[in-house]
Symmetry: C2
Subunit: 170 residues, 2 copies
């Protein structure tokens, strides 16, 4: 079964992101607006239990923090993704490092971890550049407190269901 770990920003940030996701993100209906902490991976029941135990322990030492989304950015040309970017990625990087450690170490990361909230993906290059040009001119300033992470699993239709939340208790 596929499991992934994500952070959901506060509702007002989700609402903002959804105004673009609705149209430009084919995963709009599969999962609420989120920042991925750990990409999906196929786990056995045993690996799930190990992960849950590890996440309980790791989150006990992590403190809640605040993030500020201050602009739209893109992974083009590596991937045709538009996302809300963070003014300062340090706290999310730290969360990622703590979560993806021990039994949850990512063996062969496919790319450098960049915290982001996707608002568009699988767009044509033309559409991406159009949107990107538009959105770069909008002033974006959205703040969210991050005080928990969510372990999710994927059903056969590609959607994600919440399995367990872990509060940052440090």
């Amino acid at each position: 079964m596929f499991y992934g770990i994500a952070v959901f920003p506060e509702k007002h940030v989700q609402d903002l992101a959804n105004s673009w996701r609705r149209r430009y993100d084919p995963h709009y209906a599969a999962i609420p607006a989120h920042m991925t902490v750990r990409d999906q991976e196929d786990w056995t029941e045993q690996q799930l239990q190990t992960a849950v135990d590890y996440l309980e322990q790791a989150t006990a030492a992590l403190s809640p923090f605040t993030v500020r989304f201050n602009r739209v950015s893109s992974f083009f040309p590596v991937s045709h993704v538009l996302y809300l970017a963070l003014e300062d990625t340090a706290a999310m990087q730290e969360l990622r490092n703590a979560v993806c450690s021990g039994p949850l170490t990512v063996k062969a990361p496919k790319h450098v971890y960049t915290p982001h909230l996707t608002i568009g993906q699988k767009m044509s290059a033309d559409e991406l550049h159009d949107m990107y040009g538009n959105l770069r001119m909008q002033s974006i300033d959205a703040v969210s407190r991050i005080d928990r992470i969510h372990l999710l699993y994927q059903t056969d239709n590609g959607s994600w269901t919440a399995y367990q939340s872990f509060l940052l208790r440090g």
Copy 2:
């Protein structure tokens, strides 16, 4: 902000339900296949905190259990809903009673609580009867362990995001 409490059955039950939800449930994209434990209600930040504290305490005394979906049933004519029904509703009733108590007591319930997993809703009467007739002839036997509940909130697009999970720890 609107909060609700639900139980997600195991993936194989969701996959089964989604085969019908995809087509017959307009809420298919808003929330994974679920059984509602407490209907949505508009809560203040303060009410949320009270609810979280209460749920922590209530779930400490509740034990995990198993449910068996053994047929399709309907709320017609009260509402045009088709759902997977439980062979025995006692454990879900008990969960509901424990959760919707104290500060989470439902003041004026709109209907008698009937545990169900919706697979179709807002159907025309004709469509509902057609489907119901078909599905009554299929043999349904799906078992799921229930060992946690989920507190969810609704974003402006009508979708639900996981806020916190509570394990049944009794």
